[in-house]
């Protein structure tokens, strides 16, 4: 098809728009309020001091505990500002274990705003390795979830083995966690000073 002058201008505009969109992808946090937070596997916190946690040289975490008592979970607390949308959590790991898998739960824990009340845990999404895939990556996508950070806390729990059971050691590693959230109100987020 031949292209006259207006057509060439249209093409040029489309090309420019394409570049803008491409750069928007690269700098999405600026334009769209999307936010990525990455955590090394070893930055997780053991939920029990009986859990012996090792590091694999690249800040991946693995459980060194044998069949003694205690939980076998590592927790990644998230800092999610109020009203941000929680889109997804991607996890990376290594599973060379024939006996154990690495399972994940994205958890919301809520309590009353200003009165006593036990934390109410809600599992928003789950994922797990299976078999012996070696390197693996899984995506946890909650149903639409707007953070209410005044009353709730958000975290990911990675489980290396059932409670009080032997871990698979170096064969099962939590390598990385990435939270994807979105600020729905980039410009007026904090309002104006009274």
């Amino acid at each position: 098809m031949r292209c006259n002058e207006p057509c060439k201008m249209t093409k040029a505009l489309l090309l420019a728009a394409g570049f803008v969109l491409a750069s928007a992808q690269a700098n999405a946090g600026v334009l769209y309020g999307t936010d990525y937070d990455s955590y090394n596997g070893r930055s997780g916190r053991p939920s029990d001091s009986l859990l012996s946690l090792g590091r694999d040289g690249n800040f991946g975490a693995y459980c060194q505990s044998g069949a003694s008592s205690g939980r076998r979970t590592v927790v990644y607390p998230f800092d999610i500002p109020d009203q941000f949308e929680v889109f997804s959590v991607r996890v990376w790991g290594i599973d060379d274990s024939a006996s154990n898998n690495l399972s994940y739960e994205l958890v919301k824990s809520c309590q009353p705003f200003l009165s006593g009340g036990g934390p109410v845990r809600t599992v928003l999404a789950t994922a797990a390795s299976s078999g012996t895939p070696g390197n693996f990556s899984q995506l946890l996508i909650p149903a639409e979830q707007v953070a209410t950070s005044s009353t709730c806390a958000y975290f990911l729990e990675a489980r290396f083995a059932p409670d009080n059971s032997a871990c698979a050691g170096f064969d099962l590693r939590s390598v990385r966690v990435r939270l994807l959230s979105n600020n729905p109100d980039v410009i007026f987020r904090n309002g104006f000073a009274p």
Partner: protein
């Protein structure tokens, strides 16, 4: 409004009228306040002798005499810390749980040692079960100085000189309310 063009589109955020500064509400009461929370599991022992366990978000101090645990908060420069709320469970007749807001500051370029300051503290009382302990700084908020200081909350999971009481005392979370 300071715009020359009368057709200029101006967006104004539709916020509720600011409430009294002492009002607290989950939506910030129109004050633009925000929150930062550290769950119990995020607290680390003052030393490696701190023994703990529990299901996230809660931890209990399970044994021994090391009963202090600390979490660092990461607030924006210039933020005004107005409230610190500790959510806990206390069913111990012998021990209480204490909470401290600390700043740890150093000289800007020298080799001065860090100076720790207790900015506020309080404690649980009796055996309330699930409870909230609030450090109210709203009349004189702590202004965050990221250049020289770090800010942290430390809990003592037993009374001074006491020992850990296991599942009789749990730390669920600590939440800061601040104005950015």
């Amino acid at each position: 409004m300071g715009f020359d063009d009368p057709a200029q589109l101006v967006m104004v955020r539709d916020l509720p009228f600011p409430a009294d500064s002492d009002t607290r509400a989950p939506d910030g009461a129109g004050l633009g306040d925000e929150w930062q929370t550290r769950i119990g599991t995020a607290f680390q022992g003052r030393t490696g002798a701190f023994n703990f366990g529990g299901q996230a978000p809660s931890i209990a101090c399970t044994s021994g005499t090391e009963r202090f645990a600390t979490a660092t908060f990461d607030l924006p420069a210039g933020a005004a810390i107005k409230y610190v709320d500790m959510f806990a469970y206390d069913n111990s007749s012998s021990e209480e749980m204490l909470v401290f807001l600390l700043s740890v500051c150093q000289g800007t370029g020298g080799a001065d040692p860090p100076v720790s300051t207790i900015l506020a503290n309080s404690t649980t009382s009796g055996t309330p079960g699930d409870t909230v302990v609030t450090l109210n700084l709203s009349s004189a908020p702590v202004i965050v100085d990221r250049y020289t200081c770090r800010y942290m909350v430390r809990v003592n999971m037993a009374s001074p000189g006491g020992t850990c009481v296991g599942g009789s005392i749990f730390l669920d979370k600590v939440r800061m309310q601040y104005t950015p």
